[in-house]
């Protein structure tokens, strides 16, 4: 059963009561919340995702609720709870949906150590996955959203889950998070894409989430073989340029961007070295999304 098959009233009831079990790739989260932006955001962006039964296994139990302080009426707040305990400070209540997304990311990066987890976007075309590791501000999410709206499959905009045994990347296929200027860029680039309402004044500025393509969600059980590592860098006015990146540098970049490289020890070294050896590695400078799509499509064709 998909979330869209649930009548809105029932969706809200599950969220308020026994919890809604939502599958995103290999991860099942049991979600509880009485806050309207959650039910609305889920109905808007998560219609295609499987809803699981209570007799299956839920990996994480989360709740999005006001914190237990005295701020109920004056500048109300919202907090993300993991098994009843909040990993971060409360935020203004209108950030309920973003805090849910950030919280789910945290669940994975802090607890999925059976994977090597990198802070990177991952998209796939023609059977090959492209890893886009990049620090905040590099434009990777915009690039990711742009590629996904032009036929690339979305595995994740934030978290690359590498299976140490196979070297493949597991999808989460969750909505793509967009900030500030990139919201408008994507609105123009992909007017048909569904975006959540914009939430302003968050720690990251203005934030919105773009729905993942139905194809991405449908194929969320399908891992992808890494084929390219690309370090993107947005530079206003720049001509799009793809330059080869020495694999040694690509390796260090991936290790730096990993959440749990150190935990995996020698095994983590082997997994990243294998990955990098099997990939073509590039640095990519760009200003225009159309150029980016053209160049990456050509890469995929030439594969």
């Amino acid at each position: 059963m998909k979330l869209a098959d649930l009548p809105q009233a029932e969706l809200e009831e599950r969220l308020r009561g026994a919890g809604l079990r939502l599958r995103t790739g290999p991860v099942v989260s049991e979600i509880r919340s009485a806050m309207p932006p959650l039910a609305e955001g889920l109905a808007l962006l998560y219609g295609e995702y499987p809803v699981e039964d209570r007799d299956g296994f839920a990996d994480f139990h989360v709740r999005i609720a006001p914190p237990a302080n005295l701020r109920r009426w004056w500048r109300p707040q919202v907090q993300f709870q993991f098994d009843g305990a909040p990993p971060f400070h409360p935020l203004p209540a209108d950030q309920a949906f973003p805090i849910f997304e950030w919280g789910l990311n945290w669940c994975v990066s802090a607890h999925c150590h059976h994977y090597l987890v990198l802070h990177a976007a991952v998209v796939e075309k023609q059977g090959g996955a492209m890893l886009l590791p990049a620090p905040p501000g590099s434009g990777k999410s915009t690039l990711c959203a742009g590629l996904v709206s032009r036929g690339w499959r979305l595995l994740s905009d934030e978290l690359a889950l590498i299976d140490p045994a196979s070297g493949d990347i597991a999808p989460l296929a969750r909505p793509v998070s967009l900030k500030n200027a990139s919201i408008e860029v994507i609105r123009r680039f992909a007017p048909e894409a569904r975006l959540s309402p914009v939430v302003h004044d968050t720690l990251k500025g203005s934030v919105a989430h773009m729905q993942a393509s139905a194809d991405s969600v449908r194929r969320a059980a399908e891992p992808a073989r890494p084929r390219w590592v690309v370090l993107p860098r947005y530079e206003a006015g720049a001509k799009a340029a793809l330059a080869p990146l020495p694999r040694g540098r690509a390796f260090m970049q991936l290790a730096d961007s990993a959440f749990n490289y150190d935990l995996h020890g020698a095994e983590g070294f082997r997994v990243l070295a294998d990955l990098v050896e099997g990939c073509r590695c590039y640095e990519f400078t760009y200003a225009d999304l159309d150029d980016a799509v053209r160049i990456f499509d050509a890469l995929a064709e030439g594969a």
Partner: protein, 352 residues
């Protein structure tokens, strides 16, 4: 008490046969109690269904990384203290690991704790600072709190590795009501093969130290983990001849009968630990009942599926008790007043 986590600790081999909902509860409780790694090493992973198995597998990754990190850290500490003519006793987690004892596999902890003679403190601190450890808690009040009143230096943190080292010179605060003699502990400490300059506590002392640390502590986020340590130690050492006679005798000698009583009582109640209580002085029945009400609650994981509505009150009560045990009433009043004047983030009573 029938929490899945307690049942799992008592009989890890049976976990592989549990149904999915029970396994799900177990993973949640064990993760909160910092015991998932320990269980991961005791359960037959291959027999588990895939979804829960991943979490145990992830916990194994953590356990291996942890062990590597602690070994590395102790090697550095050992190297740093080579120039100081003293022995250092590895306490708790680091001690269990280097002595190859049953609590070690899968035990998650981050600090290394060592015990050194009080006279050696200045040289020890100097040697550590030379090798990159720096003191923390720079506030003059905090510094005095630790150095004058407590049983340890302010925690030392390494500048580049960020690891934390706690240097103890006795096992209970100087201002406390009990004064177990650290010299006795050091004299009975056992050497570690391959690590000159490092020791571990003698078996009965290890049990007593663990019991004292747990039952005098102010917070219990690792309470069940520490109780599981005690269970492992008692089962392991309890097989040796003379241990059960020596244990209460040593407790009497070190004035630590009360924490030993609680250790034996609560390991038996929650983990079915075999043990012999005879010869040990018990607290009066009323106090015993009160402590049962408090400890049986706080030793459960702090999780929505465990404990009851009185659990938060039990935690707060034991927090106050811990401070009362640490210092005489007048000093405590002063100490709490100072803390109340501080920024709210520093005041543990206002935190979760």
């Amino acid at each position: 008490m029938n929490l899945p986590l307690l049942a799992a600790l008592r009989d890890p081999a049976a976990i592989a046969g549990w149904d999915i909902p029970r396994l799900e509860l177990l993973v949640r409780q064990a993760r909160r109690a910092n015991l998932l790694s320990r269980l991961a090493l005791q359960v037959e992973l291959d027999r588990l269904p895939e979804a829960p198995r991943r979490h145990f597998g992830g916990a194994l990754v953590l356990a291996r990384a942890q062990e590597e990190a602690i070994r590395r850290e102790v090697a550095q500490v050992s190297e740093a203290l080579r120039s100081v003519a003293t022995t250092a006793v590895l306490l708790k987690g680091a001690g269990y690991l280097f002595a190859g004892l049953p609590p070690a596999p899968g035990r998650l902890f981050s600090d290394v704790d060592i015990l050194v003679p009080r006279e050696a403190l200045p040289q020890v601190e100097a040697a550590l600072m030379l090798r990159g450890w720096a003191t923390t808690h720079h506030d003059p009040y905090d510094q005095r709190y630790y150095r004058k009143w407590m049983h340890e230096l302010p925690p030392m943190q390494h500048i580049t590795r960020q690891s934390v080292l706690d240097v103890h010179h006795t096992i209970l605060p100087l201002t406390g009501r009990l004064h177990p003699d650290p010299d006795k502990l050091m004299r009975a400490a056992r050497p570690l093969a391959g690590h000159p300059g490092l020791r571990v506590l003698a078996p009965v002392d290890m049990v007593l130290h663990s019991a004292t640390h747990l039952f005098f502590n102010e917070e219990f986020s690792n309470g069940l983990r520490d109780l599981a340590d005690l269970d492992s130690l008692l089962r392991h050492f309890g097989a040796s001849a003379g241990f059960w006679r020596e244990l209460p005798e040593r407790a009497r000698e070190l004035e630590l009968e009360r924490p030993l009583f609680y250790a034996l009582r609560y390991t038996r109640a929650l983990l079915d630990t075999p043990g012999e209580l005879h010869g040990l002085r018990e607290p009066p029945a009323g106090l015993r009942r009160l402590m049962d009400g408090l400890f049986l609650r706080v030793l459960q994981p702090d999780h929505p599926t465990a404990g009851d509505w009185l659990s938060p009150l039990a935690r707060r009560t034991l927090y106050l008790r811990a401070h009362w045990l640490r210092m005489p009433a007048a000093l405590l009043a002063y100490h709490l007043a100072v803390k109340a004047w501080r920024r709210p983030e520093e005041n543990p009573a206002l935190q979760r």
